[in-house]
């Protein structure tokens, strides 16, 4: 089983989800098996204003560990992340980062700005 640990920069209680990547898709939005897909299926909220279509950055997460167990980012994701506030070297879009290994131990942080940002201003 893979494991996704979610830490909130805001101080909200962290969450841990165990799942089998081979069972993807788990819900209806984001790439099948993506961080967003896993979280939604387990009733853990992650903003995804564009419906998980890689058209905004509201599902921006920072990967603390397990980056090598995630799918590589593609140009569309990188182009969007370039415009995201609070970008870090391990930033990913939750809708695009797919957990690829069944023994993955992924730790992500939901940045405060991802949670509280009122809207994406130009």
């Amino acid at each position: 089983m893979a494991r996704l640990r979610i830490i909130y920069e805001s101080g909200e209680p962290e969450r841990v989800i165990e799942f089998n990547p081979a069972d993807a898709p788990f819900s209806h939005d984001g790439q099948p098996g993506s961080i967003l897909d896993v979280m939604l299926a387990n009733h853990v909220h992650l903003e995804h204003a564009c419906g998980g279509n890689c058209a905004c950055t509201t599902c921006h997460v920072v990967v603390k560990s397990g980056m090598d167990k995630l799918s590589e980012s593609e140009e569309a994701e990188d182009d969007l992340l370039d415009k995201a506030p609070g970008l870090t070297p391990t930033s990913r879009l939750g809708c695009q980062a797919v957990v690829e290994s069944d023994d993955a131990e992924i730790v992500i942080v939901i940045p405060r700005f991802t949670i509280n940002q009122v809207s994406e201003q130009h």
């Binding site: 979610i6 909130y8 805001s10 909200e12 209680p13 969450r15 788990f26 819900s27 209806h28 939005d29 979280m39 939604l40 299926a41 387990n42 009733h43 853990v44 909220h45 992650l46 903003e47 995804h48 204003a49 564009c50 419906g51 279509n53 890689c54 058209a55 905004c56 950055t57 509201t58 140009e75 569309a76 182009d79 969007l80 415009k83 949670i115 509280n116 940002q117 009122v118 809207s119 994406e120 201003q121 130009h122």
Partner: protein, 250 residues
């Protein structure tokens, strides 16, 4: 099943939700319509041309979030116009097509960074297929607002005549503005759904890649499917600056 609404136990502070009433419905064709939304209450709703709103749709067992580009301009004020297709098997679009004038919808936003908020400084090419014209429309209005704007061109492709949304509006704009040219392409109802993308790809290649060595242009591409990425790759690999090729794929 999941509940991607505001009810998640771990969900911290949420975005403000807007409530709007459907004031008018306009059917562009059998499968495409515009909804005109007037916000409830004295809300000052600001957005930039190209942005979208995220509708929260209460389906039978869950809520889902679906984005819709704003097809009207900030200068228009309210009602906001969103434009949508009836997607086969698409629960969101079927829900919205079932709504009537007077019904309410809730949404968050605006969102999106595929935007143009001022008249451009470079020759600007807009490329869209079918309903992907929605975010482009207010961008073009903004681009043309300054009468001294550089050349602006719109390539819009669709299979059927009614799929060339806002055609008469663009034709009038082109007739009145020598720096704006509008090039609609009608591919025919028998064309495959991917035909618009293939046509635009070929046209862009001939005009802006093979056609000359000028690389001082910027592009705004919006569409459905891989065509958008193919256009991006074509233009960037041809020498256009990465940031000069903006795109949004649905």
């Amino acid at each position: 099943m999941s509940e991607p609404s505001n009810s998640g136990k771990s969900a911290p502070a949420q975005r403000a939700t807007c409530i709007a009433t459907i004031e008018r419905i306009f059917n562009h064709n059998a499968e495409t319509r515009s909804l005109f939304l007037r916000l409830t209450g004295a809300i000052d709703f600001n957005f930039v041309p190209g942005q979208f709103i995220s509708l929260e749709l209460p389906l039978a067992n869950e809520s889902i979030v679906r984005p819709y580009s704003i097809a009207s301009s900030p200068e228009d004020g309210q009602p906001l116009e969103i434009c949508l297709n009836l997607v086969p098997g698409g629960v969101g679009s079927h829900y919205l097509f079932g709504l009537h004038v007077g019904d309410s919808v809730s949404f968050t936003g605006p969102f999106g960074r595929f935007t143009l908020d001022r008249s451009p400084e470079l020759e600007t090419i807009f490329i869209a297929d079918t309903t992907a014209i929605a975010p482009i429309r207010p961008m073009i209005r903004r681009a043309l607002a300054d009468r001294e704007h550089p050349p602006v061109r719109l390539h819009h492709a669709a299979q059927i005549a009614d799929g060339l949304l806002y055609r008469s509006e663009f034709e009038v704009a082109a007739a009145n503005d020598p720096r704006f040219s509008f090039e609609p392409a009608l591919l025919g109802s028998n064309a495959e759904s991917s035909a618009a993308g293939a046509f635009l790809l070929d046209q862009v290649n001939r005009r802006y890649v093979a056609g000359d060595d000028d690389r001082k242009r910027q592009f705004y591409v919006c569409g459905v499917g891989k065509m958008v990425f193919e256009l991006r790759d074509l233009l960037r690999s041809a020498g256009y600056e990465r940031r000069a090729v903006q795109y949004e794929r649905w």
